[in-house]
Symmetry: D2
Subunit: 433 residues, 4 copies
């Protein structure tokens, strides 16, 4: 639950510059958005004298902290590709330039590496003409990288470049890094705001109702499922196996399954399953094949990790290194049917890079635009160590500490998962004993 305390860094001092933004709709700083919208629970809490958990509402402030004419902002994107990164970059630049009149905007290349001199990545000057059409292409205009860098060196770089604001586009690891930077800045008594834009194609970020690019991602993933279905139907005893993103959560996989309705099994990290045994997945798959002679299986990359030996390997982003459940399932399925003397034709599709590199669709594009606008409002108002989120369809400010406290996961009793069970027809439980 996000702390309800303010996260404007006091050391930045009170706001004192009138906002140049043209609007009659400034958001007062104290306005807060309820986390839980159930009438009874809210009124019970209030009746008990508790303040219900809530988020600070995002939006333009009447007074801002940074003088636009003296403000230099920097933008960095980290981690894997995701649809919409360029829309966010574009929106940040456009809003800084046109609404606030900020003229110094730097693009940091290759993620946090770009703040470390020894990598030798040059910064890019960003302006409306540079970013005007970058949203029509996928990927990251600034390029990206994974992995931690030395926090002191990064803050040194920000100081050296005279940056007042750093926008960090990235996921869990990136935001932990942003938090470390913000805290080092405070420790040095610098006046630099650090504002995060939450990127994860897994859509499992805590206190953020939807991450950008997620809709585009499951839209594109649907094509792979369609192909898997046609391949499965196209051969005798055909099986289409599709691996999708989702390290700790199955949102992408579940949504893609619902959007097309061609999957027969959806395997996600939140719902454990056995392979063997009467209630296990392989037996269920066998029953499906015996009656329908083809099957489509979706598996999130983080599903079934219990089948592997435990180890502590981590990737450059500091994430636990996942074992390849896709190849493992392929082998186990082929082995199972081979042992039974049945021929199956299994086709394995991994569309991950195609999904990640797609440009944002129209809906995500708008979402990215508004995330960027609200990030600029927050930064100019002197907010720091926070990310811009959305809750109940309203843009919010959330402390980085809250966002990175844990991952969202699908509740097996939720409407979402129940609908997946229904459209796939898969057994509710594939666990023995």
């Amino acid at each position: 639950m996000p702390a309800t305390t303010d996260f404007t860094i006091d050391s930045l001092g009170p706001c004192h510059v009138p906002s140049p933004v043209h609007t009659d709709d400034f958001v007062p700083d104290g306005e807060r958005i309820l986390h839980d919208v159930c009438l009874d629970r809210v009124s019970d809490r209030l009746a008990r004298g508790e303040e219900p958990p809530s988020f600070e509402r995002a939006g333009p402030r009447r007074e801002i902290y940074f003088d636009p004419t003296k403000t230099k902002a920097a933008i960095v994107s980290c981690g894997g590709l995701c649809p919409g990164i360029n829309d966010v970059i574009r929106s940040l630049v456009m809003c800084l330039h046109y609404r606030y009149g900020v003229r110094n905007i730097l693009g940091i290349r290759y993620g946090y590496q770009g703040l470390i001199p020894r990598y030798g990545h040059e910064v890019i000057e960003l302006s409306p003409s540079v970013v005007e059409r970058i949203h029509e292409e996928g990927g990251s205009f600034l390029s990206s990288s994974r992995g931690h860098q030395d926090v002191g060196e990064m803050v040194d770089a920000l100081e050296r470049m005279n940056c007042s604001i750093l926008f960090c586009i990235g996921g869990d690891g990136t935001l932990r890094g942003a938090r470390a930077i913000a805290e080092e800045i405070l420790a040095r008594h610098l006046k630099i705001a650090v504002v995060g834009l939450p990127k994860t194609i897994d859509n499992d970020m805590c206190y953020i109702e939807k991450t950008f690019g997620f809709e585009t991602a499951f839209t594109v993933a649907v094509n792979a499922i369609r192909s898997a279905h046609l391949e499965a139907k196209g051969a005798p005893n055909g099986i289409g196996l599709v691996k999708l993103m989702g390290r700790e959560s199955g949102y992408l996989t579940a949504n893609a399954a619902l959007a097309l309705n061609d999957a027969n099994f959806v395997l996600i990290p939140e719902v454990p399953f056995d392979l063997e045994g009467d209630n296990g997945f392989l037996e269920a798959l066998h029953r499906r094949m015996a009656t329908r002679h083809h099957a489509v299986i979706l598996v999130a990359e983080g599903a079934g990790q219990a089948f592997f030996e435990h180890d502590d390997a981590r990737d450059a982003s500091g994430n636990k290194r996942l074992h390849d459940i896709g190849s493992y399932l392929k082998e186990r399925i082929n082995g199972y049917f081979h042992d039974r003397g049945d021929e199956v034709n299994l086709k394995f599709i991994d569309p991950s890079y195609i999904v990640r590199a797609t440009p944002a669709n129209a809906s995500d594009s708008i979402y990215c635009t508004l995330l960027g606008v609200n990030a600029v409002h927050a930064a100019m108002a002197g907010k720091t160590n926070m990310v811009v989120g959305k809750w109940n369809n309203i843009f919010t400010h959330v402390p980085i500490a809250a966002v990175t406290s844990r991952r969202n996961q699908i509740d097996p009793d939720s409407t979402l998962w129940q609908s997946v069970i229904e459209v796939t027809g898969q057994p509710r439980r594939m666990v023995n004993g």
Copy 2:
């Protein structure tokens, strides 16, 4: 504001059949979702002893009203096409069949006409195999029609067919019709539930945060804007003019403008504008052409109706007949520049039918699926005279009377419209005096 009173029709009596739905997540009937999520306003109201406005939460009930084995449901779609109608029909059928075991499902063809014997439209028996793949195609599998029909005759038909449930997919006019049907049913002391599924491509339905098909619609509309932009740049003094749907609201137009960022003027019903005069649209267009030599204009069909003589003509759906602002603007713009001795090349694009007939994209497809599921839960629980909606990302029940009480409109001070002003660069006000 929706009445907070219950709208389960008392005459249907209390629920008494245990639900066959497999879930541990039944929604208790009293659970309500706050309309306003601002912490201060909610606690102020409660402190004053007022109950804040709220919606009944949708979802499966532990006890239901209709015995599935004896239930016959009918589905009708009315009004213009909209992406996702087939997804809704499919979801209703699938949920009725698989979750509740309802085996009698009728498709009423050609809207309310299909309930009137003299039109001679035959009903279709619907089952999972019939609707399995209909969501891959746009349009309405049941066909549709506009216009009112005699309420008594329609209820006669429902009685004759022994229907227990009528699902009405449609917009304002359709839902007013559904309300009249529900009230006639009550007057006759019949046990028939009438549940609406709110369809309007304009996305301006009251107390519904997003109507289905809207995202798909502005996604497709973007293509027309892109074409208009290329045509405008492709000829000397080129102007691209695109007319989009939006009778009383500019949501579709504004979202399409934001998604692509190629429009220079967005004209919507909510923001009046003058054509002539120093502050008028034509002068602003002239300034744009003088500096950039091309321009893209989006106009919602309901914009600028003040330029026409008032009359009271109405179309078959009972909507005020709109004057053709697209052709009018084309003529006025050409005339204005012609009078100045300037050559312009104006290309007028009306993509309406292409937009309407598109299949739902992945995101809308999921939304339609869940709308359908929740409509079935509501109907089986004996809810009537209501529509299934969504608010704060939670599915809700809303009385038809509330939904049809007025239309949503864009607030010119909202972030949405301010963002449009920013991306277009158009004057904040194009009104003289």
Copy 3:
């Protein structure tokens, strides 16, 4: 039939510079491609001592005319938009730069207007980095215009700019202009080559087996037909009417009809039809509606011009101004059914601007690339007053005079039209008497 005589302009003198192109596959100048590929007809002609008609084969020549280091080339695009223009421009620039080492390449803006000083359009310096990604967008990177300009003034401009080569991307009118320019150049004894790239979305250019952008165009047109079909099925007695490009020929319309198979009537300029009478179109439409209750009609813009009073109006490109057959049919169809007392719901779709402004699909993109490459080979070898075409899948040189001598039209006995008759089920003849 193209003259078999050479059209290298003698005044340019013999080639004398060795080609810098890296290939072992130079095309000898005398190699010719047969027009007719029927074995019997070719051998009969040869037996009679006649040379069968043929085209000069395109491709790199071992010796070229222009010294690349001293060559300045200009590129102009004229007439309406068409998919692939930017691919052609890009390919011309890339081939000039990389294969021949030409460093001076000018982009003439807004068609032939760009060669006339009083319009004040500035030229653009073109290089690989400028054109690198222009093919990802539709439209014309150089913009375009319609209409004739003074030939003397245009040649003055080419002289003033020291151009050695002019590439003209355009249709019938543009190529006639190019021919006039080439002839004025000869009269002035200048050493400037004029090479055309044949652009018409109608695909009716004589001696060119397929014009670029045509495949993309009918691919996109298919979407409009799909919408028309869904709109027709979506309403009682629905009729979808789609107007497509095709001034004198129905290739686009016929191909779009074949690609989807949803059209019931295809009306093209080559196949006259009556509206009234027992065999007329309206009666045939009535029969269709009586049995199937919906219909889709495609009409090429040049069809049915006999229904209008004859006049001689011409548009800026010098084309006969066409009467609006789409609106006329809409009115006549509505009138016909109204007079019979039948209600029909007719939806009229004109997707022309969306079709024209689409980026080339992959297949057209390759075709445009190879057209551009071969145009550069031709120009560098000193060919002039010709266009690059394709025949029997081989790139060719065709005199402009031949290409503009007449338009191709669909033969009603051809497999193409017979297949259209079959997929539509429309009457073979809709003419009375």
Copy 4:
């Protein structure tokens, strides 16, 4: 070179039924299409008294062999999926039914397995209503399988089902099977025509200028290249590696490379390359990375097989089993840079199943329709042991023996490959010594 002799099986006797097809454009049986269209070579041959190689022209014959009212046709599709199979099936059924009045049409399921009783695959009755919309979906409506079956058993099945015609949709292996069936039929003195429809996504079929689905395939492959490019640019020293179909030829890979222009290396079976050494691929890749810091590599699956130990393994279709060059390159590239102490980020994309399962685009859809129509004309006229092809844009009959005699391959001196070299900028030769 195709034999110029006729391949109508004499045992079928002369045609004697007047064709029911409505056309004035019957093709006389002796009409032949030149293979080589170079004027000089053709006239030289004729001058020497030789008949130049040619193909029998396809099209409707005035007299046909089979009486439509007594004809039963069967359709089978074999081998891997390919865009357009359903368009071909649909067209065969539509033409048989509507043009010839054939009412008995069987769909054989799962390839040649469907003709072998012990597999137990049931046949499907095909009619216009069954196949009406199957072309909107990819895959094979009849399903498919790989591998040989006993010829005698298959002919037994055709006899038992009283089939007069068998249409075989498939590639090299399938057509060899079709030839064996046709020869067994002759040996048994049966009156059954066997007509092939040439399917290979590799587009390397001899004497067929383009195989169906090929355009769609490289269109879709382009998406994978775009993703690879964005992934390569998105990470420090990013490398995108895409494996595409192409067992013995690089047409798909080369065309995809040309269509997008984002590839830096294209590796195909026809152009050998070394990995190591100064002129080798790895060194060339290193030079590219040193200057541009990212690279995109396309590799056809049949390229670089020389790097593997020779073996004779074959797959179910009888094709030589290929070693996985994609994974091999990935390993070698990573190893090479690792040994140098350079970090690279290589992303490997294999879009094969997505490419194969795509529905035909508009252009391929028309091509499939016309292939199907001409196959029906051929079969009804009593042609057998042949496939329908296209040459010089004219549909032709080609003996199966000719089509399967060898594979087409890209000539490294051709315009196609020279254009690939130009757009990629890769070294002309990557071979040492």
